[in-house]
């Protein structure tokens, strides 16, 4: 009997394994032309979700035969983790309206994304909407696996009240050059106006460099991405200047080495933060704020300063059976009308060329957003290369070791990180 039970269990196990292995996705040739109901995932940001549900309702009214269902991205430590798990399980939504460009190479490697060039007007639509900005979102094989959707160009938001308390002019803050920025920071901290001049997360997560190093590097280098032509760019005079600049903050205790368990700017603990336009709605009732471009060593004018885009794309996932509908929904959701509605609801910037001119009326009514719209013309994206997250993690390890904790000189840490990056790039 026991032998029989054991045999039965073995058969069950084998059957289960076989069933698990015998997985198949939709046939692309059929799915690309197929129409019908689809599901889309939205970010859990309240304003984005509100816009997303309204957009879906508008679509459903016009296309009752191709019903769209909107849901929040399933919970996970990060959205990318939840999306990756859904790719493997074959349960991802047709469209995800919060796909991080840094994760695209990995999703692509997992065969989780549909190349949008498969649609006759795929590439032309993306390029017509985003103009020159679109080029950064092409993958290494020359295809678009993402539709660049919206960005949050990072700038320096500051608390006017704390500037005043420190005896600084809040209407004309001296934040353009590195020396001005550091002098202002010293006054803010040493006067006791704020615990920290600025408080970026000093922790080790791979994405944290997007909010300290990368905006400053984009500005200092005149818009150079982390990787260009298959080579790391940060072991350079611009990279070293940025690392030394940030090292001074930690060395002089103008920025703490510990993460703040909350929102340091909103709580009045930090006088400045590197944020995108989403912050305007978030801080409007909390602080009296002003905005300045990311500093450069020589104090370049705002019109020449580049920054990190903090962009999110729309991805179409390979589990989608009705891809023709999904592509139409993508275009509908990024039409001039829906982009206008999105801008109004969230304050985030649709990735459109000459955004400020296209929505001139809206920016005239909402002048607080205008600097961000201007900045959106000069954005740098994370590199669209295989091994992107490995590279960011290697960089972050070097950054925290040297710049934050001073256990190695920033120059030698950047050099080591560049060597490691080249090795990672060579392995893919």
């Amino acid at each position: 009997m026991l032998r029989r039970t054991a045999s039965a269990l073995a058969v069950l196990a084998l059957a289960g394994t076989a069933a698990g292995c015998a997985r198949s996705g939709p046939d692309p040739a059929t799915a690309d032309h197929s129409r019908g109901p689809i599901t889309v995932w939205l970010s859990n940001n309240a304003q984005e979700a509100q816009w997303g549900h309204q957009m879906v309702a508008d679509w459903n009214k016009l296309h009752p035969d191709q019903h769209v269902r909107a849901q929040n991205i399933p919970a996970g430590k990060t959205s990318e983790e939840a999306i990756s798990a859904s790719i493997i399980a074959g349960t991802s939504a047709c469209l995800v309206f919060n796909t991080s460009p840094a994760a695209v190479p990995q999703f692509q490697k997992q065969a989780g994304l549909v190349p949008l060039d498969d649609f006759p007007d795929g590439a032309s639509y993306i390029e017509a909407r985003s103009g020159g900005l679109a080029a950064q979102y092409r993958s290494e094989d020359g295809k678009y696996y993402q539709l660049p959707w919206k960005s949050n160009p990072v700038m320096i938001l500051y608390n006017k009240k704390l500037f005043k308390k420190a005896g600084l002019d809040p209407e004309h803050p001296r934040l353009a050059t590195y020396s001005e920025f550091l002098d202002t920071s010293r006054k803010l901290v040493r006067s006791g106006a704020a615990d920290a001049a600025i408080w970026p997360a000093p922790s080790n997560e791979f994405f944290q460099s997007w909010f300290d190093f990368y905006p400053a590097f984009a500005a200092e280098s005149g818009g150079t991405p982390l990787i260009k032509d298959g080579k790391p760019q940060f072991d350079s005079p611009a990279g070293r200047k940025v690392a030394d600049f940030w090292r001074t903050f930690y060395q002089e205790k103008l920025a703490p080495q510990e993460a703040y368990p909350g929102d340091a700017l909103a709580d009045g603990k930090a006088a400045m933060a590197t944020v995108g336009p989403w912050a305007i709605a978030a801080y409007k009732d909390k602080i009296d704020w002003g905005v300045a471009p990311v500093p450069t060593s020589d104090g370049r004018p705002a019109s020449q300063v580049h920054t990190f885009s903090d962009q999110k794309s729309i991805g179409m996932f390979s589990a989608c059976k009705n891809r023709a509908t999904a592509w139409d929904v993508m275009k509908f959701a990024t039409s001039q009308q829906q982009d206008g509605a999105f801008l109004t609801a969230t304050g985030q910037m649709p990735v459109r060329e000459h955004l400020a001119q296209q929505f001139a009326g809206w920016f005239a009514k909402n002048p607080a957003y205008r600097p961000f719209a201007d900045q959106a013309e000069r954005e740098v994206e994370v590199p669209n290369v295989a091994g992107s997250i490995d590279i960011w993690q290697a960089f972050r390890d070097a950054w925290t070791r040297s710049v934050v904790f001073g256990r190695q000189s920033p120059a030698s840490a950047l050099h080591d990180a560049a060597a490691k990056t080249s090795k990672i790039l060579g392995e893919y």
Binding site: G16, Q110, Q257, P261
Partner: protein, 309 residues
């Protein structure tokens, strides 16, 4: 006269002994089947799959995608064993275990002995020690950050003696801080295990020792400690296994591995490599190495704690 003879009747359908044994074992097998299936599904098959992945170049793909998974022999193990961060993570875990396991065993036994005695508010104390164990790590981490942060209560109390950088961002103090946190958090569970074991230590032994003039310390060393030795093995093994699988605390308390990977654990690294960076083959090999090491340490611990039985 009719003579009626009443013969003893044989049982109507008496099952022969071997058949009875077979039926009984059949029922037994039925009872164990759900657990066996569960073990197969969530442990044995994934473990076998992990082992298989660790010998192949592998990444997870969408259904229907045909990604080659070539056999790479020990290549993933070579990558694991030559990665300096992996070495650091095992060193971190060694530091953690050296602090955590003796503290857990010692403190939980002493506390259990105290809570086993007739104390006022005994139930309250028992519940108080158990409370951190059943509270979510995320909530407790916030409290510890408040206590041990640069501007926290502990540093205020220490004044000029406070470490710089502070506890959780100090390369030398991050891992010991985590070890203390985990010891405190899990103490209640181990106290419960010891309290259960103490119920089996006869009172007559303590009475006889008292008659012989033994004091409290003597009785503790000569009666309590040997009396709960099987529980000590269990506590030590359990503390080692859970300690070696440390993830939430370094992830939450020290921001993803602490300064210069000073609190990175092997499981945190497995998460970073396998899930975040998409290298399940490397993560699988690291997992197998971790299993082997934990097994070895556990066996040594058993030998040491059961010595003299």
């Amino acid at each position: 006269m009719t003579l009626t003879r009443t013969l003893p009747q044989a049982p109507a359908a008496r099952v022969p002994a071997p058949a009875r044994r077979r039926r009984r074992s059949g029922i037994g097998a039925l009872f164990v089947t759900p657990y066996m299936l569960y073990t197969l599904a969530v442990f044995a098959i994934p473990l076998g799959y992990t082992l298989w992945i660790s010998f192949h170049r592998f990444y997870f793909t969408a259904p229907g995608a045909h990604a080659p998974s070539p056999w790479v022999g020990l290549s993933n193990y070579r990558d694991v064993l030559t990665d300096p961060v992996v070495g650091k993570s095992f060193l971190n875990i060694a530091i953690f275990l050296v602090i955590n396991v003796p503290l857990t065993v010692g403190l939980s036994l002493v506390l259990a002995t105290a809570l086993n005695a007739k104390l006022p508010f005994r139930s309250f104390f028992r519940a108080a020690f158990y409370l951190p164990y059943i509270t979510a790590s995320v909530a407790l981490v916030a409290v510890w950050q408040f206590l041990f942060g640069s501007d926290g209560l502990v540093n205020h109390a220490l004044g000029g003696l406070a470490p710089d950088p502070s506890w959780l961002v100090n390369t030398h103090l991050a891992m010991p801080s985590i070890a203390l946190f985990v010891t405190w958090k899990q103490l209640g569970f181990f106290v419960m295990l010891y309290l259960g074991a103490l119920q089996n230590v006869g009172n007559d032994l303590y009475e006889a020792a008292s008659v012989d003039g033994a004091g409290a310390v003597r009785k503790f060393w000569s009666i309590t400690v040997p009396g709960v030795r099987p529980a000590t093995t269990l506590v030590a093994v359990y503390a080692i296994v859970t300690g070696a699988n440390l993830f939430s605390e370094p992830y939450l308390l020290t921001g993803g591995g602490g300064p210069d990977n000073s609190s990175t654990s092997p499981v945190l690294l497995m998460y970073q490599k396998g899930i975040e960076q998409g290298h399940p083959d490397f993560a699988a090999a690291l997992g197998v190495v971790l299993i082997v090491l934990v097994l070895a340490v556990t066996l040594i611990t058993r030998k040491l704690t059961e010595r003299g039985d």
